[in-house]
Subunit: 532 residues, 2 copies
């Protein structure tokens, strides 16, 4: 089955291979009698017997041979994971969290939407979403394991005819070096108004989001599976040149729970904003279709067209036109190495913040407020003992002491709620970057493979594998690839500086407010004591 | 040996019984060759063979029969403890911390004067200083275990001749009820300038403190052992009517370590201030002698006189003269019960604050600053990665991010140091009150025993144990005792309100400063980010 996957040029989820494959059950599902459903338990392995039931259902068989319908969202159905029990993955990653999180930026496997003390940045087993092995470290060997690597950059480096016409992607020389062509007005969109819909006579429910682009200001509706379709198209088309971050995870618990929906929407908004900000992605036909389709027919036509697009994978480089002289292959390699080093170092830095932030989150929502509460209670208890003294004039002290005690209880509450106000955004931003950085090894891998190919040029000519002219073409095309990588890195840097500036400001602003509010509350408590 | 103690009218340390008794070694002591010294190990049990060596030394024999000199401060030489290995006591109290701390208010058995994260309010084994059994709960039965209880209040209730003359202690009816006679100007003193002295050709060192009373403004010098002598005299003389808190513990580690000396001086100051504030104690001959002796001869004469004072124990009540009508015995009992309930409830409240405060201290000096430090480091690390990007204009972000990281490191430092600035005083005050409250069961016990005696009046008359006149005298005298208790409770309440008002204000003031400083630091860090 691993072989099957490696032959498939489509990274990630691949429908063709789901037929009759194993799948892992993610949550308990109890069949309703008379509906041809199958009761399954979390952790159970089932065999998918029919993927094409529709309406969000698949047909599956359990180990006792019983066959029935199961909601598709309740199972993890990609291929590699179907061979590895979930528990194994979970326990493996606990020891292997050095491995980068690949295309899995919003890892939420322990979303507890009800508990205030939970957080959503716990490490997820590697690859549960994209079909990668849990053991694979995307940084260890750049090209390893990614379907695009099997396709290889030769397809582009040696192809005879390049794409002509309207789809050209120019690269200009800006102040910071090679840059994509940016539109005058940046596209933006609002993801809002999640609505519950249902199919199959209410048997299967889903959430539909309203997306309103700044260009038309006309809302379109999309379900999560449409976002997922868009992601697959963008990854197919641009993934070799532009890191396309994964979508936020499918829900794990509380599918219709308010907080979960809010969180997913927030993350879908983040994903869409990032895509809108990218000049190449946001300007693409498929992205524009997603945002501005007029009606169901328009959407279906556009979908079919997008799925037939042949300028995908490494062929995207054939559309790129830098307005600059060819680069020396040594410089190309140096740039590539530099970006590789940087993204790798940043990946470490981001993960450190996530780890530290997660611990801080736990302390702020767990032991710390409990302690402030106990301090508050202790003051109040002592105050109430004092009140029982029978000594006159006692209330001048006890009223103030009780107020001080209550203030510490309020502080406890504030401490527990603060992470949602500041740490949350710091974590979300870093989590988003973790996901984005996890895409770089693949993107950089394509470049490294191309550079290696060009290095072999003389040998290939000598053994008549390629002509001398093809060798020249290869060098020219690897220079084009390098311009694309540089434009992308400059895009990344500019966005990164903007994002971190923003999130650090927001974090510090909220922290200042937090400490000032505490100081003000304590000052108020202090003022209630009489000076003697 | 327990019997011997119960026959002794002097509570606490009793020199007569130290001869040839066991003692527990508190710290390792290595004998210097040729000095007739004995090497002993912490936890070892030795036999004291000669208490009267002088110069701070005692002669002792170890279990191997070797005899030699040991510094008296290195051993725990009271009687009951000599029968119970220290480790047993330590492990017992860990499970029995409901037991009140008796006459042991400043329990410092794990003073780590060097470590910033240590604190000094850990529970100490009960009675290691005063010779009480570790298992005895002073609240459980008021009269239990205290030497005064064996002496009994009858001595006063039935004595023929009362003390006449100048030593009368009047009680007036004030606004709050019975009150002691307060001086127009409150006595105060400053304990300062600890100096190292030595005896025995430098073999034995000690610290001498300078005490300057506000009345004479002329400093006198005293070693800890002089304070201890004063404490014994005050306990002897006033202990039945006035709770006399124990002195701060003898040192445990780092005898000449600066921080330890500072801490002991601070606590001696606290003890002296409390004694000065008490109108009866501060006005007593022995206390005045301690504060104002003119020279060594004056001191020695005064000492001898004080040691010969016969108005000690319950006889102190014979000097008390309330200017109010006799109280009904039922009212006497109600008052006593009320005070008993109150001091017991306050003891619980104070211990709750100590427990909570100790945990908070640990968190503030342990995990919390470590976490802020890690947050600070994580920001700085990410900033330094960003700096390596090669992207122009990077420094606008990285300078600010590094500053933010450093700010969190500063906050870590502040958090770790804050308890010394605020929690310390809250803890010290509550610790002092814990000690003071631990004296009440004994004081109240004397009253309860007297009340019981009066209740038996008719029976005692019927069986000709006392005359009818003596029964009347007893009732009158228990009323006098009740006035004394009420005056003392009113003194306690008034001081308590003052102390808690002060310490709460101080705590909140410092807390406000702390949070305001953090807010200001973060505001400064925030201002370094450029708005984009």
């Amino acid at each position: 089955m691993t072989k099957q996957l490696s032959l498939c040029s489509k990274p990630g989820y691949c429908e063709r291979h789901i037929q009759n494959s194993f799948a892992q059950v993610l949550y308990d599902f109890t069949a309703e009698p008379g509906n041809n459903e199958l009761t399954v338990k979390e952790g159970e392995t089932i065999t998918i017997t029919n993927q094409h039931i529709g309406g969000g259902w698949i047909e599956a068989q359990n180990s006792r041979g019983e066959v029935g319908l199961v909601p598709e969202d309740y199972i993890e159905s990609d291929l590699l994971n179907s061979l590895v029990p979930l528990q194994t993955l979970l326990s493996t990653t606990a020891h292997a969290n050095n491995a980068s999180n690949g295309n899995d930026p919003w890892s939420v496997w322990n979303t507890d939407a009800t508990g205030g003390s939970s957080n959503n940045w716990a490490s997820k087993p590697e690859g549960t979403q994209t079909g990668k092995s849990a053991a694979a470290d995307p940084w260890s060997s750049a090209a390893q394991g990614h379907p695009q690597a099997y396709q290889g950059p030769e397809l582009y480096l040696l192809c005879k005819q390049l794409v002509k016409g309207k789809d050209k992607l120019p690269i200009y020389m800006g102040e910071v070096g090679p840059v994509w062509s940016y539109p005058e007005t940046q596209l933006d969109c609002v993801v809002a108004d999640p609505k519950k819909g249902s199919k199959m006579y209410g048997l299967k429910s889903y959430i539909e989001y309203q997306i309103t682009p700044s260009t038309t200001n006309r809302p379109v509706n999309h379900r999560y599976k449409h976002f997922d379709w868009l992601y697959e198209r963008l990854l197919d088309k641009f993934g070799s040149a532009i890191p396309i971050p994964s979508l936020p995870d499918k829900q794990v618990t509380g599918r219709f729970e308010e907080e979960f929906i809010k969180m997913r929407m927030e993350r879908l908004q983040g994903w869409m904003t990032r895509m809108c900000r990218h000049p190449v992605v946001s300007n693409s036909d498929v992205f524009q279709l997603f945002l501005t389709y007029k009606d169901e027919k328009d959407w279906k036509t556009g979908k079919r067209k997008a799925e037939k697009d042949e300028t995908v994978g490494v062929m995207i480089f054939s559309t790129i036109e830098p307005e600059a002289p060819d680069l020396d292959p040594i410089e190309v390699e140096q740039k590539c190495e530099q970006f590789s080093r940087f993204t790798r170092a940043m990946d470490d830095g981001v993960k450190e913040i996530l780890t530290v932030g997660q611990e801080h989150w736990k302390r702020c929502t767990g032991p710390l407020p409990k302690e402030y509460q106990r301090i508050g209670k202790a003051f109040q208890n002592l105050s109430s003992v004092f009140n029982s003294s029978g000594y006159q004039g006692e209330s001048t002290l006890t009223d103030a002491m009780t107020a001080a005690g209550k203030t510490y209880e309020e502080i406890a509450q504030m401490v527990a709620e603060q992470p949602k106000k500041d740490l949350h955004f710091l974590m979300e931003t870093n989590n988003e970057y973790k996901g984005l950085l996890g895409c770089f090894p693949d993107t950089i891998g394509v470049h490294k493979a191309a550079i290696e190919k060009v290095k072999e040029g003389d040998k290939l000519v000598a053994t008549s594998k390629i002509s001398p002219q093809e060798k020249v073409t290869m060098a020219k095309r690897v220079s084009i690839m390098s311009y694309a990588l540089q434009a992308e890195m400059n895009h990344f840097h500019s966005n990164r500086i903007y994002d971190y500036n923003r999130v650090m400001q927001l974090y510090l602003e909220e922290q200042v407010k937090f400490y000032e509010t505490i100081a003000a509350k304590l000052r108020q408590a202090h003022s209630q004591f009489t000076t003697m």
